[in-house]
């Protein structure tokens, strides 16, 4: 056959697009304005694809401050050196901007103070704002 894809092309014309149009069906002219509209309730975000398994998913890290005993093992294994030790309080501070979401600190933590969350939309204009620093 000369063009075996021809049939597929015709079929594709009547199908819904395969990709999920996130955050809006058509790209807004100004993303900043679009986000402001969303906050005011004027526009709606087309939701991202759902997380397939919340148990295995590795999103923004969650830190249980009370469980932490300040043993610094997580600092020792963190491949990207994203964790800082606060000497006075004997607690840690995690910079998500540097985190590579490998969850190695979760594995080594003796008291299970660390776990992986489900949040993954972490774009921000500053790498040290409240959302990107966990303490």
């Amino acid at each position: 056959m000369m063009f075996p894809m021809f049939k597929q092309l015709i079929v594709q014309m009547f199908r819904k697009p395969f990709t999920n149009p996130f955050p809006a069906k058509y790209a807004p002219k100004s993303m900043k304005k679009f986000m402001e509209d969303v906050e005011k309730g004027k526009a709606k975000i087309n939701p991202p694809v759902e997380i397939p398994d919340e148990e295995t998913f590795r999103g923004r890290i969650l830190y249980d401050r009370d469980k932490c005993i300040g043993c610094q093992l997580c600092i020792k294994v963190c491949p990207s050196k994203a964790i800082e030790f606060k000497k006075e309080e004997k607690k840690i501070r995690i910079y998500i901007g540097r985190c590579i979401f490998c969850s190695q600190c979760n594995d080594i933590c003796p008291t299970n103070a660390l776990s992986m969350g489900n949040e993954f939309l972490l774009a921000s204009d500053s790498k040290v704002n409240d959302e990107l620093v966990v303490e």
Partner: protein, 406 residues
């Protein structure tokens, strides 16, 4: 006599792992000589592994040697360290490693197939193949928690088990790919344009392939039955019946051209599907890691001494890691990575000589290099320099396709 020009392709593409430069001498449209200038960039990965990181941190560094094959580099490193530290890996972990490795092969080969179609100007096929590829990416996200970087391997086993409810999803994916395979084979191998652009183009003879020590699908497409999984099986591969795939299995004969490289990669996707199915059926139960306490594990690695070489059949060919450990020294004492592309770029010369400029993108892409080169060409004529962009280059390729279709 016709003028001879020299085109330089490369050397830098900011998004890619191995910036490389090809200098091509052309006479009119025809390529008469090729020179490859490698080592355009140094990332210091081995240095970091030998100075800054401890052994566990190095796994994640090795994962980032290459984004696409982010399972083969850490597993190669882990295999070498396991041999030195004498760590016995539980059987279930070995099966999970095989499944992960084959999932990676499927997604890497499909990604390449899409890129190859794009280089020929056949973007419809590119989008179709990448749509098909999305299925395996979904499974990777489900099983590992992230779409691309798996972070699953650890010295002495794997970090996460494959859950019972995930097995069903993997089986569904396998069925999907069995159905998609016949369609993909038809789109790639029976299309007239595809055949015209790839048959008898970029031939690497068996002799050249042996002399240049080509590895992986590049060597197999030239008829060399060479596969680390077959020759020196690692993980749980000794339990599987694996043979090196050559294109004559489907077409009946071997030419060693770009078309054959497509055939080999498509057949390998099929082979991977069968391996995953067999592994799921025969996976034993039990432990998934030899030493659960990571502090103990780190102490054990720190106390071991020796050197080892590990070989792994990555989607692009044989990957080799050499590791040396010294007692009391926390980072790796010595670490050398040899990625498959290093070897395969040498085969560009025999592949390119005698073909046209418009064939450069597809021939260069046909070894599945870990970088898309061809980002610009500078033509020097009478002391004046003209720079062509990759778009112009792509346009040339598309034009050739159009010309052939007439």
């Amino acid at each position: 006599m016709a003028h001879e020009y020299e085109l330089s392709i490369g050397p830098i593409h900011p998004a890619l792992k191995e910036p490389i430069m090809i200098r091509v001498k052309v006479e009119g449209e025809e390529i008469v000589d090729v020179d490859v200038i490698a080592s355009q960039n140094h990332r210091g990965i081995e240095w970091l592994g030998m100075n800054r990181n401890n052994a566990i941190q190095s796994i994640y560094l090795a994962e980032r040697v290459c984004g696409i094959c982010n399972f083969c580099h850490p597993s190669c490193l882990v295999m070498a360290v396991e041999e030195i530290a004498d760590i016995e890996v539980p059987e279930r972990a070995q099966y999970i490693r095989v499944i992960q490795g084959e999932l990676e092969r499927i997604h890497s080969h499909l990604l390449w197939a899409g890129v190859a179609a794009h280089e020929l100007g056949f973007d419809t096929l590119l989008h179709y193949v990448w749509m098909v590829r999305e299925k395996v990416m979904d499974v990777l996200e489900l099983v590992n928690g992230n779409r691309v970087t798996k972070s699953i391997i650890m010295y002495g086993g794997v970090r996460r088990d494959i859950k019972e409810e995930h097995v069903e999803h993997i089986r569904k994916m396998l069925d999907y790919y069995r159905n998609a395979f016949s369609k993909l084979a038809k789109f790639f191998l029976e299309d007239k344009t595809m055949e015209k652009r790839t048959r008898e183009i970029g031939i690497l003879t068996e002799r050249d392939a042996i002399e240049l020590a080509a590895v992986g699908p590049t060597a197999r497409a030239s008829g060399i039955k060479k596969d680390v999984r077959q020759d020196f099986p690692y993980f749980a591969y000794p339990d599987f019946d694996i043979h090196a795939i050559t294109p004559d299995e489907l077409t009946g004969y071997t030419v060693g051209d770009v078309y054959d490289r497509i055939v080999v990669r498509l057949l390998e996707v099929k082979q991977s599907i069968d391996i995953i199915e067999e592994a799921l059926n025969e996976m034993p139960s039990g432990e998934i890691i030899a030493e659960k306490k990571l502090v103990k594990l780190m102490a054990k690695i720190k106390a071991s001494e020796g050197e080892a070489v590990a070989r792994y059949e990555a989607p692009r060919g044989e990957d080799i890691h050499y590791v040396k450990l010294k007692k009391g020294f926390e980072p790796l004492y010595s670490w050398k990575v040899r990625a498959p592309t290093y070897i395969n770029i040498l085969s560009w010369r025999p592949m390119l000589v005698g073909y046209q400029i418009a064939d450069i993108p597809i021939i260069a892409a046909s070894i599945d290099p870990c970088m898309s080169c061809t980002n610009r060409i500078a033509v020097v004529k009478d002391g004046k320099e003209r720079i062509f962009t990759s778009d112009y280059f792509h346009e040339l390729s598309v034009k050739k396709t159009r010309r052939l279709m007439k």
